[in-house]
Assembly symmetry: C2
Homo-oligomer: 487 residues x 2
C-alpha cells in the first residue's frame, strides 16, 4: 500500500467519528445538512506555495523588493529593541525562563538567551508592544513580527548568510500577506487578529526555507502552521495583542522543525474543504495566494509608522511637523490651530486633557501640540513627560479640530494662525508613512535611534543600523542580533 | 488613571488600524458593513467560568463524577503508553529534543524527559495516535488528551496530591466540554478539530487550577487559551491529527504560566463581540458554559472506545464477541454471518480484502471475523498479523453485511448461521462503550494491558493501573507517571 493510499485510508478513518459516533446526540447532529458548498477551489494551493518557497532564490528578487526587505528588517529591529524593556516583555521572559531550552538565541535589547522558540516568542511580543511596527496596509498584517522573530532566532543557532536571511524574510512576508489577501477583510472583520493567523504561515515558510525543507516537508510545515492560528481582536488593549505575533513566530518554528523530521500533515491544508481558508473565513480568494508568484511582491508594499499612535492622527502630525519646520515655528508664536478632519479623528482621539503618556495617544490636541513643539511623534512624544510639559499643555488648548465633510481619514487640512496675523496652511492628501509617501531611510534611522535610545549606546545603535543596511553583504545575519543586545 | 481606564483606552487604540489605516485599500474595506449582529450574549461568561474553576474543590465532586474521572485517567494512561512507540512520537521526540528545556517531565512508555510543555505535547500526541482515547459523545471531543497531558507534566515538577490532580482533571474536562457544547456542531462542521480548539481551554483551566491562579489570572489564562485554537479536520489521516491534542496541551500550559505572572488578556475573550465563540463558530450557546456549574457534569458523560477502529464498526464487533463468548464459537463451525447494517458501515468500512493492519480498520469483514476468532477488537486485532491470519482471512469471506433501512449507525442485527444448521442471533441497540452501556472497569483494564503489553512489564502494568485506581489516596499524582515510563 502506498503512502498516498495510507493517507486516504486514514483520512476516511478519521472522518468516522462525525458520521458515526456511538449512540448519543452526535448522531442526530450528524444528520444535519452540511454547510452550503463553496465554489470549487484551485487545486494544489498549498503545494504550489510550498514549491515556490522551496525554489525561490535571493538572486531572483528584484532590487526594489530587496530594498524594501532591508527597510523592513531595520524598522523591525528598531521596534524590537524599543519594546524590549516593557513590562510585558519582563513578564514573558520571567514566566518562560524556567522552561526554556538551551540558550540558543538572544532577546533584542536585553541580555537573556532562550531556546529559539521562546526567544522568537518574546522578540515577537517586544516588537509589537508599541503598535509601532510595519504594516501591510491591504490586510493590516504587521508582517515582520512573526517572520523576523523566527528567523533571527534560528540565525543565531545555525549560520545564515545575510542574503539567505533576506530571501527567507521576503518569502515569509510574501506568504503571510498573500494568505492574508485571500481571506481579508471577512476574516479580520469576524474577529481574527490577522497578524497572528496569517503570520504563522510566514514564520513557518521563512523558517522552513532556512531549514532547507523539500517541497513535501514545506507542504507539511504549512499544514502544521495552518493548525495553529493565533489571536482574536477582542484581546486588543491587553498584553495578549503583542502575544499574537510572538506566538505566531514560535508556532511557525514549531511547524517547520517538526516537518523537517517528516512529521506529516495533509497536502491541502490551506484550500481543502475542511482546511484553513474555508474554516477560518467566509471569503477565499486563492488566486491571491498563487498568482504571479515571483513576479508580484506584496512585501514591496510594506509600510512603516512614522508616529507612535493610531494612524488616524498621522496626517495632522505630518502637517504640523512640516509647517513647524518650514516656518521655524515655536509655540509662543501661535494664536490657534484649525484642523479640518474626518469624524473618526474626534471619535477616536478627542481627549482634550490627557494626563498620562498613553492618553496622549488618544488626543489630537496633544498630538498636534507636541508635533509643533518637538517636531516629532515618537514614543517620547507620548510619554508622561510630554503630556505634562507646560508649553505643550498650553499649546494643545489652542488646537481646534473641526469635523468637515469631504475630508478623508487619511487627510487633514491645517491652518495655523500666528499672533502676528499670518495664516499658514497645509493640506495633506497622503500622510507620511503611506505606500505613496513612504518614510525615507533617514526617517527610519531617526525612528530606530529614538526607540533604542536608553537601551543601546549611540555607538551600538549606529552599528546595529549599519549592519541592517548592509545585510546583503553579511556572512552571518546573526551579526545584527549581536549588535542589538544589551551590552 | 485606573487599570480599567487604561484597558479601555488601549482597546480603542488598538481598533484604530481597522477604522483608520493609512491610505490604501484598507480604507475602502473599513467602510464595509459589519457582519450581522449576533444575539446579545450573557455577560461575564469567561469570568464566571474562571470563578468556578478557581473555587471548585475536590470535596464538592459527586461520587459518580470522581469515579468517571478516575476511569478517564486510567483509560488515558493506557492509550498514552500504547501510542508511545509509534513513529509519530519518535519523530516528535527527536525533532523537539534539541530545543527542550530542563528534563522536568517524562514521556509515558518511554525514557526521555522534556520540559513540561514539550512533554505535554508529546504525551498528547501519543495518546491520540490510535484514535483510541476517550470521547465526549455530545461534541466528539477527546477530553483527556489536552488536560491530562498538561497536568501530568506539571505534577512531576511540582507536588500535586492525587485529589488535587483529579479535581483539576475534572475541571479541565468540564471546561472544554462545556465550551465545546456551546459551539457544536457548527464549529466542528465547518472544519475545526474541536479536541484542539476547545481542548486548549481545558488544559489552561486544569493547569491554572494547579498553579492556584486567582480569578483574574484564570480569566486571562482562558483568554490566552482562546488565542491559541489548534487543529483543522483536513489534517485527519496524517500525523497532524494527533498533533492537535498535544499542541492544545502545551498551549494551555503556555497560557496558564503566562497568566500566573500577570500576563494580561481581555476579560471577555470567550463571549465578546470579537471574542472566541463569535469568531470561531456560527453557533454560540453560552448557557452551556455557565449554567449549573458544579451541578451538571459533562465529565461524567465521558466514554471509552472498546475497539481500536471507527465507531461505526463497534456494534458489529460487540455482537460478534458476545455471540462468540455465549456459544464458544470457533471459526470452523461457521457457515456464514449476516449483518443488517446502516449504509455508513459499507460506505466507510466496505474493504473486502485488507492487506495491512491499517486497512483492517476499514473492513467490516475483517472486524467481524477477527472478533469471532480472537474475541476482541484492539490494536492487535488490526495488525498486519491479524489481517493476514489464514483463519481470519477465510472467515471474513463468510461475512455478509446488508444495508437495511431502519438500522441506525449505532445498531446492528447479526445472525450467525452454523454449519450444523443452527442460527444464532444478536441485536445490538447500543454498543458497548456508549454512555448507556459503558465499558466495565475490567474491560478498561484489559484494554490498558493490551496497549501497554510489550512496552511495560506485566508487573509494571499492574502497578500503573493500581496507581490510577487509587489516585485519590496518592500523596503525589506523579507516582502514576513514575510507574508508566519505560524501565
Amino acid at each position: 500500500m502506498s503512502i498516498t493510499d495510507r493517507r486516504t485510508l486514514l483520512q476516511t478513518a478519521a472522518g468516522l467519528p462525525l458520521l458515526a459516533a456511538a449512540p448519543g446526540s452526535a448522531f442526530a447532529q450528524s444528520a444535519a445538512p452540511a454547510p452550503a458548498a463553496k465554489p470549487e477551489a484551485p487545486k494544489d494551493v498549498t503545494r504550489k506555495l510550498a514549491s515556490y518557497i522551496v525554489n525561490a532564490k535571493y538572486e531572483d528578487l528584484p532590487a526594489n523588493v530587496r530594498k524594501e526587505g532591508v527597510r523592513t528588517i531595520l524598522n523591525w529591529v528598531g521596534v524590537a529593541i524599543g519594546g524590549s524593556h516593557h513590562e510585558t516583555v519582563d513578564i514573558a521572559a520571567s514566566a518562560l525562563g524556567p522552561f526554556s531550552g538551551p540558550p540558543q538565541a538572544s532577546l533584542f535589547g536585553r541580555h537573556e538567551r532562550f531556546d529559539i522558540m521562546n526567544a522568537a516568542f518574546i522578540n515577537g511580543v517586544s516588537s509589537h508592544i508599541f503598535d509601532y511596527d510595519d504594516t501591510h496596509l491591504k490586510t493590516i498584517i504587521h508582517p515582520a513580527g512573526p517572520v523576523a522573530s523566527a528567523i533571527f532566532a534560528h540565525a543565531e543557532m545555525q549560520p545564515v548568510s545575510g542574503k539567505e536571511f533576506l530571501n527567507a524574510l521576503v518569502l515569509g512576508v510574501e506568504v503571510e500577506c498573500r494568505i492574508g489577501n485571500a481571506v481579508y477583510p471577512n476574516h479580520y472583520d469576524v474577529g481574527w487578529h490577522i497578524t497572528g493567523t496569517a503570520g504563522v504561515f510566514g514564520a513557518a515558510a521563512a523558517m522552513g526555507k532556512l531549514l532547507k525543507l523539500n517541497e513535501q516537508q514545506m507542504t507539511w510545515a504549512l499544514g502544521l502552521a495552518a493548525s495553529q492560528p493565533v489571536g482574536l481582536r477582542e484581546s486588543f488593549g491587553s498584553m495578549n495583542k503583542s502575544f499574537n505575533p510572538g506566538r505566531a513566530a514560535s508556532n511557525g518554528i514549531f511547524a517547520a522543525i517538526l516537518a523537517s523530521k517528516n512529521y506529516t500533515s495533509s497536502d491541502g491544508m490551506i484550500e481543502a474543504k475542511r482546511g484553513w481558508a474555508n474554516t477560518i473565513s467566509t471569503k477565499q480568494d486563492y488566486t491571491e495566494i498563487v498568482s504571479d508568484l515571483g513576479k508580484r511582491y506584496e512585501s514591496a508594499l510594506n509600510t512603516y509608522k512614522p508616529f507612535a499612535c493610531g494612524i488616524v492622527m498621522h496626517p495632522s502630525i505630518d502637517a504640523a511637523v512640516q509647517l513647524r519646520n518650514e516656518f521655524h515655528l515655536t509655540a509662543d508664536q501661535i494664536d490657534h490651530i484649525d484642523l479640518k478632519v474626518h469624524p473618526l479623528v474626534l471619535e477616536l482621539t478627542g481627549k482634550k486633557t490627557p494626563r498620562e503618556g498613553l492618553e496622549g495617544k488618544f488626543s489630537i490636541y496633544h498630538a498636534v501640540a507636541v508635533a509643533i513643539v518637538e517636531g516629532a511623534g515618537g514614543e517620547k512624544q507620548f510619554s508622561n513627560r510630554a503630556v505634562n510639559d507646560p508649553t505643550i499643555v498650553a499649546l494643545r488648548a489652542k488646537v481646534n479640530p473641526v469635523v468637515t465633510p469631504g475630508v478623508e481619514p487619511a487627510q487633514v487640512d491645517m491652518t495655523i494662525v500666528l499672533k502676528d496675523g499670518r495664516s499658514l496652511h497645509k493640506y495633506i492628501e497622503k500622510a507620511i508613512g503611506s505606500v505613496e509617501v513612504p518614510m525615507t531611510d533617514a526617517m527610519l534611522e531617526t525612528k530606530f535611534s529614538d526607540l533604542a535610545d536608553g537601551i543601546l549606546s549611540a555607538q551600538a545603535i549606529r552599528k546595529s543600523m549599519d549592519a541592517c543596511w548592509q545585510i546583503e553583504t553579511l556572512a552571518s545575519a546573526a551579526d545584527i542580533v549581536k549588535l542589538s543586545v544589551a551590552g
